[in-house]
Symmetry: C2
Subunit: 732 residues, 2 copies
């Protein structure tokens, strides 16, 4: 248990870091009165939205809580219910706290940017780091404390069913909140952004962030509730699911270890997460501009410091936890039967050997798998920068294509978005093969764990983006001098890339985790329903059916998301037009637009639009199971459901990466032109690039990123469904 | 053999219909001298392009032929080699003949439209019907004659390895040509179209098809080489692969039937194809305008006539071929072991029963499965019309979104394209489940066969499109009165929908065939490598790896296709700009642009750009097999390769449908606005809709449709690889 205690300490350090750093940030000067006024309007709007969003989610959450209590806890001790509530409340809290610091850091960043680029960078990045450390810290605390309570207080076996059930319910709570937060926030931010641009830039011919535009506050609110709160909830979810499911899969798959060693192995992901919080905190202090004044370079210094420090740190804690790094870790081996038997296959000797690269795994094997996770992080960051950075072929090719018009800009952007899926897929494929060869499914799980262990740092890089975006808006609205706006713009351009990085990172971890989640599904299936022989072979037509239906989900979800943004943006356009029409003083600059009215309209639209798509991944697995079971029997129902879990990741990986990378590339192609290339601002190429940027907006900030929690939800609902069916039949 | 003879007679009737109808079409008046001049330029360009394209393909084909002879025929009797050549030559011929009639019918349609809508419709549709009947007729003849020769002349057993090998090689020949033709033609047509629009409509401000635009002839040539020749080669391929693979899967899977009955069962797809040619010909005579002058209604009359006549016709030939419709057809049953054993699974009793819905299948079961194929055809047509027709929500929503600008038009179009995948997927899923429940894998194969049996009629509906498109171009360039252009425009708008229908139909059949192709792969695997135990279960990480790599192919292929169009269109823009600059007489209307130069530039660009993407699906399966085998052994190599075959369809289905339906919707949203809605021609909404149309062009006519042959090639290459590996080891 010492290991778990140490992990809890690391989690507390993260929270303390967040608290102390936020004192620092808040003590920075908040600018003149006009700036403070604007910031107050943004704060008010963001809080109002988040409050309403959480109220709505609370209703869905309450229904789910009742269902969990009735079907999973069987109306008995509310173990799953309470775990679900912890996951959902903390996921919401991560978003809320992140948003709360972000709406205060924005104006301070604008003020700091008055004096220097470094000043703005430091403030914005510190604010991002607060969100990052809170996401990782709260995530780690939730799992570690729950695990500690169950094992040390309630005295359950570390690999017992109650522990597995509680960790799964915790993950479900986090996922459920995060899909609503990601999607609702994504719809809000892009509806406001697109609406403001359409009616402001295009119709009225006023610049971005012009205070005469009634939608301008809504646009800035959107950055906070979407890119900050939504993102934080999403990464909290990814963190909890990945670390939690790694522990679950150890519990399910590793058989025959002495109890003490099993406990240590299960606690290893926690201490790895803990130590990486420390290396992430160390990394945040390395974010400083060098001689070249490269902002990306400064951020990279922080990231690479964290990565490099994590290598010895992970080695150290692995050795500390497991003792002998060369001792075989699975006395009786990762039981390949436990895994493969769940399919209708009797294990052949060859197949067992294929899986059994595991049995001989050692502390060293796990360390190597975790190194693979770090390498994957580095490669995903590098690939994303290549596809979305202004220095490379993809963004330049879109900018060039803008010269021949709107159509060619969009065509080239779509081509890049399709292409951008290739390298990440190859990286993930190689990582799966390598970590599987080293230590089987458990190896893949540990690769995903070390990937996610860096979440604190990665989220810090991301959460910095909306702060600088807002700072630019405040500088513009408060009429600060041009050089301030130039500094905030420079900070913001890098934010486009770092935002894309986080999304690629989250979806990449989902792909790595897919095999682990499927492993948990099949093992559960075997334990709960030992008599149902399920054939997961690709020659079973119900497997094909499941793959196709799973693959459909991201498409349908994407369609909902895109349509929702279009519809909500339309509502913004109409409101702004009405305000201009009814109050001519607005355009003249003599009277103030009714910002709150527009915020209110976007709020209502976003909340209305988020509900149905968010329920899609919750209800689809249940529907598929019951329909196929009715048509072809329970075994085929389970087969189709299992295949659906893989179908959703096989197609979701591509949909998500193409949307997030493509959208980032479009955005930066516009910025590249605004930097004076291909005719610069106001040229025909620039107009075309604005169109591309508009198209990329819902791609990269609404539909694309929400695919990640959608995939997890589908998987976790399937696990819960198994548990509920088993409990209903008195099997579980 | 009588059944095969009857099928051959039907094939000959189709060819005769084509010959006679082309006499009729050619005897129609070809308009005035100016019209004939323009038509001659189009003919010349189309022939020049197709000639160059076939020369290039011939080189690739020759290399493949040598490889097939060396590795498959093992340098012995060139059975596979000759079958491959037949497939490739006839696929090329289908495209060539279709193009040839289309470039003659265009000017005659324009002339006929001078007098009446019905006149134009009749001529254009007849010309389409010629292509349609030749595609189905040549496809049927190639399989039937080959089968007849092998069984009746060379005396091989109908289910013997030589027959299977020859049918597979025939399919490969057809597929290889068709991917080049689809992609090369697709790049040509859209590069010319986009290039002409960008520099003509956007820069020079001259209308579409204005004779002063040097790219205008290239644009019209493109309709013929892409939408006609490329499409014909594609559908020829789909027809041959589907019918051929149905026969192959009967040979591989149905065990224990008496020889005579087995021969009849194998010939059943041929006679079904034959009789549906007759019902298709009957249908063509029903294409007449009713009182409402609805063009779509007239075409539907033809289609529904064919569908309705096919119901009793299929019943009749099934009964004729099999005799007792209630007698169980698989004496010892579709051997489920043959199928499932290929995976590492020892068959459990339950799994065998799951598959064994087959054993009791009868003539009636197969008839019902074929009815499912007809229902799927009807539903796919209806769904495609819903998503691309101007009367329904999707197209109207894009038109409405155009009011707020280019960006919202594209966002809504992308949302519709994502959404449009849902209903076809559900239809296919239900069809797979239903036909599988009725008669197992063989049932699914027969559903696909009856779907494709209507290819003659469906291709007729499609090939009518480019003729009317050209007719409109000629009317414009020859300065015919406005009412002629109105008539050709009306014909053309319907063509956008029918073109989308064919693409959805082709990809839908590919999804149905996926299970059959995978069945052939696993059965081959088991026969060739009985000692290699391959685990196709989803819990095998190499299966996940294969699924991901397969899913990547359509994305990468789509990226190549889109980029190629962008690049080639750029070359067109530069050439046209140069012509305008060097020869000011062109814009003044005093001197004639150098049309041939532009055609030549597009030709070179399209041929250069088609090669690498077309080789992607040929080389990827081979690379995946060898790399994974090197890393993890042969069993995992086979597992990853098999999973790749399903990955490519699971993702390709969505990529293809979203691109073709979305593109059609964008195109018709523009037409809907041009009909006077949302401000009509010249409004801001119209400009936005033109952007959407430009984006949709490479989506629907280049990248999307080429996904269908790409999927087939990947599958067939895998089958050939197995045969080559087996032959190399002396196993085959």
């Amino acid at each position: 248990m010492t290991i778990v205690y140490l992990a809890i300490v690391c989690g507390l350090i993260a929270v303390a870091y967040g608290f102390l750093t936020s004192q620092q940030v808040l003590s920075a000067p908040a600018g003149n009165e006009k700036m403070r006024d604007i910031a107050a309007a943004i704060q008010e709007g963001a809080k109002a939205y988040l409050g309403r969003q959480y109220q709505t989610i609370a209703i869905v959450g309450a229904v789910m809580a009742v269902l969990i209590w009735v079907f999973i806890d069987q109306m008995g001790a509310p173990l799953s219910l309470i775990s679900f509530l912890i996951g959902s409340v903390l996921s919401g809290a991560a978003g809320f706290v992140g948003m709360n610091i972000s709406v205060r850091a924005n104006v301070r960043t604008a003020e700091a940017a008055r004096t220097s680029l470094q000043g703005g960078l430091t403030l914005a990045f510190r604010s991002g780091a607060i969100t990052g450390m809170l996401v990782a810290g709260l995530g780690l605390l939730s799992i570690a404390v729950l695990f500690w309570y169950l094992v040390a207080q309630a005295d359950y076996a570390p690999n017992g069913r109650p522990v597995i059930a509680a960790l799964t319910a915790l993950a479900f709570g986090a996922s459920l909140i995060s899909i609503f937060a990601r999607l609702g926030g994504g719809i809000f931010t892009k509806a406001a952004d697109v609406g403001a641009d359409l009616v402001g830039k295009v119709e009225a011919g006023i610049p971005e962030d012009d205070p005469r535009n009634p939608a301008v506050i809504a646009d800035n609110v959107g950055d906070n509730v979407g890119d900050c709160a939504g993102m934080a909830a999403d990464l909290f979810e990814t963190y909890v699911v990945t670390l939690g499911l790694t522990m679950v899969s150890i519990a399910l798959l590793v058989k025959g270890l002495p109890d003490a060693l099993l406990l240590k192995l299960m606690a290893l992901p926690l201490i790895v997460g803990g130590v990486c919080i420390l290396t992430s905190i160390a990394g945040t202090y390395m974010v400083r501009l060098g001689k070249g004044q490269s902002i990306m370079g400064a951020l990279y210094k922080g990231l690479w410091t964290t990565v490099l420090l994590s290598i010895p740190a992970i080695y150290f804690v692995t050795q500390y936890a497991l003792g002998d790094m060369n001792a075989p870790l699975s006395g009786l081996g990762v039981d390949p039967g436990a895994f493969l038997d769940a399919s209708s296959s009797a294990i052949t000797a060859e197949a067992a050997i294929g899986l059994a690269t595991g049995p001989e795994f050692t502390g060293n094997s796990l360390f190597f798998c975790m190194m693979i996770g770090l390498v994957v992080t580095g490669l995903l960051v590098w690939i994303t920068e290549y596809y979305t950075g202004t220095n490379y072929r993809p963004v330049k090719s879109i900018a060039k294509a803008s010269e021949t018009g709107h159509g060619t800009n969009v065509i080239q952007g779509l081509a890049i978005s399709l292409e951008s899926t290739a390298l990440p897929t190859l990286v993930i494929v190689v990582a799966v093969i390598a970590s599987f060869q080293i230590a089987g499914i458990i190896g893949v799980a540990f690769a995903a764990t070390s990937l996610l262990a860096l979440a604190g740092m990665v989220v810090a890089l991301d959460a910095y983006g909306p702060v600088t975006d807002n700072a630019g808006g405040i500088a513009e609205m408060a009429g600060l001098p041009d050089d301030v706006r130039h500094r905030t713009d420079a900070l913001d351009a890098v934010g486009n890339t770092t935002k894309a990085v986080t999304k690629g990172y989250a979806i990449g971890s989902a792909a790595l985790a897919a095999l682990v989640l499927f492993g948990a599904y099949t093992t559960d299936l075997k334990e709960f329903f030992p008599d149902v022989r399920v054939d997961f072979s690709l020659s079973n037509p119900y497997v094909i059916v499941g793959l196709l239906l799973g693959a459909l989900l991201p498409y349908l979800f994407g369609a909902f998301g895109m349509t929702a943004v279009g519809r909500a943006a339309g509502a913004v356009v109409e409101d702004v037009r009405a305000q201009f029409r009814d109050n001519p003083g607005i355009m003249a600059g003599t009277s103030r637009p009714d910002y709150a009215r527009t915020v209110d309209i976007v709020t209502k639209a976003a909340i209305k639009e988020m509900i149905i798509p968010s329920l899609l991944p919750v209800l689809s697995p249940i529907a598929v199971y019951f329909i196929i079971t009715a048509v072809a029997g329970q075994a085929e129902g389970f087969a189709a459901l299992g295949a659906m879990l893989l179908g959703v990741i096989v197609s979701g990986l591509f949909v998500a990466i193409s949307m997030t990378s493509g959208g980032g590339a479009w955005d930066n192609a516009k910025k590249y032109i605004e930097d004076g290339n291909h005719g610069g601002k106001g040229s025909e190429a620039h107009k075309a690039a604005v169109t591309g940027d508009t198209v990329g907006d819902p791609y990269k900030d609404t539909a694309g990123p929400a695919v990640n929690p959608m995939i997890k939800i589908t998987n976790i609902v399937a696990l819960l469904l198994l548990a509920a069916l088993a409990a209903g039949q008195g099997v579980g």
